[in-house]
């Protein structure tokens, strides 16, 4: 159900080709390494100095050790970018960065804008470094742009893929919870089961309702089943048809079904739709349904004496 964001080899090549990120750029970027090594700490100071001006980012970078770890990770990542080895491990690392951002709640707007700090700083530095060869400076800046775009897109895509997975997991678990909650079959008395139907009944639920009811009937050997429709908001032909089938199947097992709690609105709908509930016993309320069920079992409820 949940698929992890991944880049296979073919796509790696495609991405690099589309960005026109190849050997030339690799050579340019490798030349930047001495510059990077020299200015690294200065840049990181400026970078985190800027980040910590914002409350949201202060909350993420909560203490010294977090900042130190982030700094180190970042320095290493940048080094990887410049060494020109954009292999599987590099892509994987970029994807992990996005996942990590999702986990700590750092939204892409901050991440994307942070890359601008990189470009800002290094563009200036590259300009100064290659001031005698402006053409070379331009090429290096261009290569750096390409690479940061690659890194940004990978981390943002992976951020959203992770978010999506989370949401899918939540939806799946809620769906399961709803299914379980929505079809309780209650043994209200020896030999009497009650199935209170609540909410909207759709095709997935209908199947589940039928199966859990029939299983419980066999398990408890109940002689009477009360299907209570008090909580059902809408009934259409499909739902009515399904109810009929459920009742038929339950009666095939040898149990007796009683439909209760059909509201005036549902009664009107059923008549307008031309649905015939056939021979199924009906009672106005769960109370009268229960009375009827007890009577069928030869039981009666009486006030205790004294």
């Amino acid at each position: 159900m949940s698929s992890n964001f991944n880049v296979d080899e073919k796509e790696m090549v495609e991405r690099l080709e589309f960005l026109r990120l190849g050997d030339e750029q690799r050579a340019d970027l490798r030349e930047l390494r001495p510059l990077f090594m020299e200015k690294r700490e200065e840049f990181l100071d400026a970078f985190y100095g800027h980040l910590l001006k914002f409350d949201k980012l202060c909350a993420v970078l909560k203490d010294e050790s977090t900042i130190r770890r982030a700094r180190q990770g970042q320095a290493e990542y940048f080094e990887r970018m410049l060494d020109g080895n954009w292999d599987e491990a590099f892509f994987e690392l970029s994807i992990q960065v996005g996942k990590k951002h999702q986990e700590i709640g750092l939204e892409p707007k901050w991440v994307v804008a942070s890359w601008n700090l990189y470009l800002d700083y290094w563009t200036r530095e590259i300009g100064a470094y290659f001031k005698d060869t402006p053409e070379k400076a331009l090429r290096c800046i261009d290569s750096l742009h390409k690479l940061t775009l690659l890194a940004t897109s990978l981390s943002v895509e992976s951020y959203y893929s992770k978010t999506m997975n989370r949401m899918q997991e939540v939806v799946a678990s809620q769906r399961l919870a709803i299914l379980e909650l929505s079809t309780p079959v209650i043994q209200i008395w020896g030999g009497i089961l009650v199935l209170p139907l609540i909410g909207t009944i759709d095709s997935v639920r209908t199947r589940q309702i039928m199966e859990s009811l029939l299983e419980r009937v066999v398990e408890t050997q109940a002689e009477v089943v009360i299907l209570d429709l008090t909580g059902v908001s809408v009934v259409d032909t499909a739902v009515a048809n399904h109810l009929m089938k459920t009742v038929e199947a339950a009666e095939l097992l040898g149990t007796h079904c009683i439909l209760t709690g059909i509201s005036p609105a549902i009664a009107q709908t059923l008549v307008h739709l031309g649905v015939d509930l056939g021979h199924i016993s009906r009672c106005s309320s769960l109370k009268t349904g229960l009375k009827k069920a007890l009577k069928r079992l030869g039981l009666a409820v009486r006030k205790a004496k004294g």
């Binding site: 199966e211 009937v217 002689e223 089938k245 199947a249 095939l252 097992l253 040898g254 149990t255």
Partner: protein, 118 residues
Amino acid sequence: MARIPVLRLKNVLVVSLQVEMEDRVAIDLQEDILSTLARTGAGGLIVDVSGVEVVDSFLGRIIGDTARMASMMGANTVLVGIQPAVAITLTELGLVFSNVRTALNLEKGLALLKADLE
């Protein structure tokens, strides 16, 4: 070929299907039930299908037909122990046995035919 025994309990015939039913076995069983009914003049027939996990349209129709034939010969038929999955299949196939009574188990089925047991 497997043959399914038709047992007699007072005035009631009891048949228990405990194996997966092949078509041929089902047809033979129908013959056996009807001839035993004719011979004994039994007033009731109980078919226990608790051992049957799968029913196709053919077997479903045979069971329904047999019950109808038995009632024509004056025997009340009760089907007992239908499994949930089988009940779902039968309703999906639209095979609802209108003139056949059903019960949850053999005991309750016999209770329905009490009159024939005395």
